[in-house]
């Protein structure tokens, strides 16, 4: 039974990132009266993303047999960099377009301009779902082996529970968007997305350090594992969602600081 909880937990962790992206976009579209038309595009994007996830997941499996160890690390790293860039882009896209949606789009902007925005929403959702979904497909296919194979009920129960929990996360976000003040909700979810992008960036840089393409400069600046151990259950979640490292290298600290300095500057500029 312990392993059931483990599968369910890892499954939730893998899907919740995509759920955050889709859920926040959904709440954001609902909040702006003229945004409702875009929701169809959002779900279209999700569908495309699911298809893309399957392709990507199978592709990664195929690539892992063809590429060298280094090659696989580089590939995964590039995907993480791209995902981080995409999420940051999404945050600033939402900030910019919030203003456009406030005016009555049907009168001030033409049909074409409206559609362009909606395709932006669709592709954001599609790419986010495809990337995280691809990881989930790989994870599930590697997990569905041995005593947890596709034939065992454990796997399907865990899969089902994981999907349910991801859906609950989605609905929690929608509820939050309606119950809490919008400004507070948007600020909180915006911060969540930016932290997630940071975590992805940190992960990608660490892979590069791991294959010595990027130097660590100083290997371990400090050890804060007494405060929070990043290889524990809770610590692992924190580090996956924020980029926290108990034993950061100098390069990681520099990347982390540069990221937040850059983001803060851009946030102030886009006011």
């Amino acid at each position: 039974m312990q392993n059931l909880a483990q599968i369910f937990f890892v499954m939730w962790r893998e899907t919740v990132e995509a759920m955050l992206v889709v859920g926040i976009l959904h709440a954001w579209l609902l909040h702006h009266a003229s945004g409702k038309a875009g929701i169809r595009y959002l779900w279209l994007g999700v569908l495309m993303g699911l298809g893309g996830a399957l392709l990507l997941g199978l592709g990664i499996e195929a690539l892992s047999t063809v590429l060298s160890d280094e090659g696989q690390e580089i590939f995964q790293s590039v995907l993480q960099f791209a995902a981080a860039a995409l999420i940051v882009q999404m945050v600033f896209w939402m900030r910019r377009n919030a203003r456009n949606l406030k005016k009555d789009m049907e009168f001030t902007l033409g049909q074409r301009a409206q559609e362009k925005n909606w395709w932006g929403v669709a592709s954001l959702a599609a790419i986010a779902v495809a990337r995280e979904g691809g990881e989930t497909v790989v994870f599930l296919s590697s997990l569905a082996t041995g005593s947890n194979s596709l034939a065992s009920p454990t796997f399907w129960i865990a899969l089902g529970l994981g999907v349910v929990l991801a859906a609950l996360t989605f609905y929690a976000l929608q509820l939050g968007g309606k119950l809490i003040s919008w400004r507070l909700f948007f600020k909180a979810t915006e911060t969540m997305l930016l932290m997630l992008a940071c975590a992805l960036l940190i992960g990608a840089v660490e892979r590069m350090i791991g294959i010595q393409i990027v130097p660590a400069l100083v290997n371990q600046l400090w050890d804060s594992s007494a405060l929070l151990e990043d290889s524990s259950v809770f610590g692992g979640v924190v580090s996956a969602f924020t980029g926290y490292r108990a034993r950061p290298s100098l390069t990681i600290l520099l990347v982390f600081s540069a990221y937040w300095a850059g983001v803060r500057w851009k946030l102030l500029r886009s006011r």
């Binding site: 599968i7 690539l63 580089i74 932006g120 592709s123 790989v138 005593s147 290889s231």
Partner: protein
């Protein structure tokens, strides 16, 4: 504008694929290797001693009935293994010290330490 970035991302991915195809396969290199087994989360040995300041390889074996994922944030490696499967990770020269690793699929029981000296 998002679609512009999408095509940029796709071309970066394709470019990196080309790069990785060129990246030499280092599997046959003559470096010390160490065996690490994982049985449904339980590592054997739980404390792996390796030489510091030297590149080495860890040969991973899943001797259990469930998939495992060898992961270490400090060593910057993660590798999923099906039951009965085996693979390896190459670790670049380490400073002397202790480095934690764990099984991400059995995180409670699956904890181990790599000691470089």
């Amino acid at each position: 504008m998002v679609s512009m970035n999408f095509s940029r991302i796709v071309s970066v991915l394709l470019g990196s694929l080309l790069l990785t195809a060129i990246a030499p396969a280092k599997a046959g290199e003559d470096i010390p290797s160490f065996r690490l087994e994982c049985n449904n989360g339980v590592f054997k040995p739980q404390k792996l001693v390796v030489p510091a300041a030297q590149k080495f390889r860890i040969d991973l074996f899943n001797t259990g009935t469930e998939a495992i994922e060898f992961e270490s944030l400090q060593l910057r490696k993660e590798k999923a293994l099906n039951p009965g499967g085996n693979s390896f990770v190459v670790i670049y020269p380490l400073d002397p010290g202790e480095y934690k690793f764990f099984d991400d699929f059995h995180i409670k029981v699956g904890q181990g330490t790599l000691v470089a000296k």
